[in-house]
């Protein structure tokens, strides 16, 4: 073994603080050290050129560079080694500048410390193994789950870049929550109007051939990993053939069945064959098999009889089990409202006239249960409305966070109410008010200018809604202890935004962790909010945290960017060699490693009863290596042998 040591003098400065002569003398005597060379500026272009030439001539087996911080230059010097024909991992750097010379006033002490650190590096580097980046063929197709604004934007961007996309949407309708809104804050544009162009592109745009849209579909299984996922999708039958259906909806009126319409949150009824609401895309009715009389054996075929297209309605359509390969998966499954039945003091479900904000959106919508008339479905129009912000939010016992969008839509409601029923009294009751953003404050200002609106802060836990005749009585106490009571015709709750009901189930299927609130957990809240904890699974939209449409589409685009840069065209996937490996001869299958791995990189092989590490998912932190009670895991480039040699030599 011949190790070459280079001492960078950082110009003339370091030899004034560290005795380079003594250093050279002591280090030269070490076993395996072939030479010790001072160099003026290793980091300069000439310095790197010198290093490359010198390595070529000296042909050492291993290299130690004592200079400044490896955090700055290690990668640059590794490239020099590579150019000189050496494995780049045959290098160990020592920081004799920031961690020795500049912090140790006594030159003799500084020299001793530098000597010990370089000695340790030499001992360690002699044990370094040649590591090579491996490359993997990948699939560049993508599965996007959820067709709200985030998923749509992502799917469209990927399709435009030429990627094949499978868009998996659970409901029969595309567009997510906002297609249910009449108007969108901050500028009160019509919801369907801003989404329809996107949906049009998706279904019939220039790149729509790249997108396979699966409605009434859910992901039921995920195998494999980044670059090569195998995704299982189960698609329920629609019983109406989207290719043949002409969207005339003649099939709907003859249906004799009436069930609550879940797409209007049960505020009205629909038939067994139905569109979720007028204008829903794709414009193809679906047949709800559970509600259909045929499910109880009846020979009803009224819808099919009414259909002008032969074969468009198929009662025998089977469920489809679809398998797709994808390099990456984007989760864009959105969020839900907190279940208000868990807030009994607010009267939801018990006091008449109390609605959630999503129900109220439908009441305002012209394709909703009241045809856009502002009134209780089947009841009168209100003369007064209380809008209760922060329902279940900012509450340590419920959801401690602020959902961030409720104030915005509450003030949107304010304007829509004033537009639809001028003069209606509106009471905003809030714990806190927030409206960050360049447009959002103006919605609040407009609400403030509404002469029929008042704004009252209530103290947490000091608000209750009870029945008062046919109306609702809202009792509250402000933070100063002043109490109030108002009787209103309608109450709108703005509940905390939470994860979707089956969010946990999907997280389990994907193996992607959720945070303490149940949202999908990002890799890093600031720097990597769109990557999940599992490589190759990205998060877009309000499945990651509550957010507005603008942020949701930004995240959708961002997830597409991650896919396009990570699984770039014409390039294989590189696997970093600093990863952990399991020694099969030692692994007893205790699974401690899997429990401490933050990246789901460690699987368990039931046949062999042993752990196995997926190099692609491993980030090389070494926590598993330190945790393995049998010493069966080694972290490459940070093996126990290497670290122990370094410890021994640094203390010698």
């Amino acid at each position: 073994m011949r190790t070459g040591i280079y001492l960078c003098s950082c110009g003339d400065s370091l030899p004034e603080l560290i005795d380079f002569h003594r250093l050279q003398g002591e280090l030269s005597r070490l076993e395996d050290v072939a030479y010790v060379k001072p160099v003026a500026y290793l980091c300069a272009e000439e310095g790197k050129q010198f290093l490359e030439n010198d390595l070529g001539q000296q042909r050492p087996d291993r290299v130690v560079i004592a200079a400044c911080s490896p955090r700055e230059y290690e990668r640059a010097f590794m490239q020099v080694l590579e150019r000189a024909g050496l494995n780049p991992y045959f290098l160990q750097m020592v920081n004799i500048r920031e961690q020795v010379a500049w912090v140790t006033p006594d030159i003799s002490q500084a020299t001793s410390k530098a000597c010990a650190q370089i000695r340790a590096a030499a001992a360690r580097v002699s044990l370094h193994q040649a590591l090579i980046k491996t490359e993997l063929e990948v699939c560049r197709d993508v599965v996007v789950i959820g067709a709200g604004p985030a998923g749509l934007r992502c799917a469209l961007a990927l399709a435009e870049a030429g990627r094949k996309v499978v868009l998996v949407e659970r409901s029969p309708v595309l567009g997510g929550l906002p297609v249910r809104y009449e108007e969108i804050f901050p500028n009160l544009e019509c919801g369907p109007c801003i989404l329809e162009p996107m949906l049009g592109d998706l279904l019939h745009g220039p790149h729509s051939a790249n997108i396979e849209v699966l409605t009434l579909a859910e992901v039921t299984g995920l195998k494999g990993y980044y670059g090569n996922f195998h995704v299982s999708v189960q698609q329920a039958p629609r019983y109406v053939d989207g290719e043949l259906c002409i969207g005339c909806v003649d099939c709907i009126p003859p249906c004799p069945v009436q069930v609550p319409n879940e797409y209007n949150f049960g505020l009205d009824a629909r038939r067994a064959i139905a569109l979720p609401f007028l204008g829903a895309l794709p414009n193809v009715p679906f047949l709800d098999a559970r509600a259909c009389l045929r499910s109880s054996g009846a020979e009803c075929s009224l819808c099919r009889d009414a259909c002008p297209v032969d074969g468009a309605i198929r009662y025998d359509e089977p469920a489809r089990f679809i398998e797709r390969t994808a390099g990456a998966v984007v989760v864009a499954t959105g969020s839900a409202l907190m279940d208000c039945r868990g807030l009994p003091e607010l009267g939801y479900g018990t006091v008449p006239g109390v609605y959630t904000s999503l129900e109220f959106e439908r009441i305002l919508a012209s394709n909703g249960p009241t045809g856009g008339e502002l009134k209780r479905p089947g009841g009168p129009s209100p003369r007064s409305i209380a809008i209760i912000h922060c329902a279940g939010s900012l509450d340590e016992r419920r959801q401690p966070y602020c959902s961030g969008i409720c104030c915005d839509y509450a003030f949107k409601f304010n304007q829509l109410v004033e537009k639809k029923l001028p003069g209606t009294t509106i009471l905003h009751l809030y714990k806190e008010l927030v409206f960050p953003g360049k447009e959002e404050f103006s919605i609040y200002q407009r609400a403030r200018r509404n002469p029929h609106a008042s704004f009252i802060r209530y103290a947490p836990g000091r608000l209750a809604v009870s029945a008062s005749g046919g109306a609702a009585a809202v009792q509250y106490e402000d933070p100063a202890g002043n109490r109030g009571r108002e009787v209103v015709d309608m109450v709108v709750l703005c509940p905390a935004i939470t994860r979707t009901e089956d969010g946990g189930g999907l997280a389990r299927i994907l193996g992607a962790p959720t945070d303490r609130f149940g949202f999908f957990q990002e890799l890093h809240g600031r720097m990597d909010p769109v990557q999940s904890r599992v490589k190759g699974i990205y998060l877009a939209g309000s499945c990651q945290r509550p957010m507005d449409i603008q942020n949701a589409v930004v995240q959708g685009m961002s997830a597409a960017g991650y896919v396009l840069s990570g699984l770039a065209d014409g390039r294989k996937l590189e696997i970093e060699p600093i990863t952990a490996q399991v020694d099969d001869n030692r692994c007893s299958g205790c699974r401690v490693c899997g429990a401490v791995c933050p990246y789901q990189a460690i699987g368990f092989q039931p046949e062999r009863g042993q752990a196995s590490i997926n190099a692609l998912l491993c980030h090389g932190c070494g926590t598993c290596a330190a945790g393995c009670p049998a010493g069966a895991i080694q972290g490459s480039h940070f093996t126990s042998e290497q670290i122990l040699a370094e410890i021994e030599a640094v203390l010698a």
Binding site: L17, S69, P70, R71, N95, R97, E98, Q99, V100, A101, W102, V103, T104, P105, D106, Q109, A110, S112, K113, A116, Q117, A120, R533, I578, D583, R586, V596, P598, Y599, H619, G620, C621, G622, T623, A625, A626, G627, A630, G631, A632, Q634, G635, F638, T639, S640, E641, I643, L644, E646, I647, E648, V650, L651, A652
Partner: protein, 161 residues
Amino acid sequence: MIEVQTSPDSLSVPHTFEPKIVGFLCNWCSYAGADKAGAAQLSYPPHVRIVRLMCSGRVDPHFVLQAYRDGADGVLILACHAGDCHYQEGNFRAAQRHRMLLRLLAQFGIEEARCRFDSVSAGEGEKFVRVVSETVAAVRALGPLKRPAIDQAIPHSPPPE
């Protein structure tokens, strides 16, 4: 060096005992914190010898024991602050293992002050200097580690590779 500051543990006072301390630093926060101290040219005692690891979660308790065995009088494990770990939760594992280690070390008669765990962020050059200075002073006050006890207690064989 622009200006040499005297560290809290004044270097001018002669000491009879110069402790050897191994400092395990994670690459992302505490090693960067040490770099920051250097960039600010804050001086501190030279007794801590640095071993850089990618994550404090890599600190196998065995490494700590072996450090004592190889002649260390003290060990310093520096990690990112809670919630800041580059690898999500390696620092949390390191803290858990450190608590376990202290119990074990007590059995061998090794004082707590000889094995310090702390958090230093990439920006905390001054905290790095303080932690190092305090550790050196504490270990110095304890005197050399009693070798025979540790040699008996900890088998010399390296861990199974």
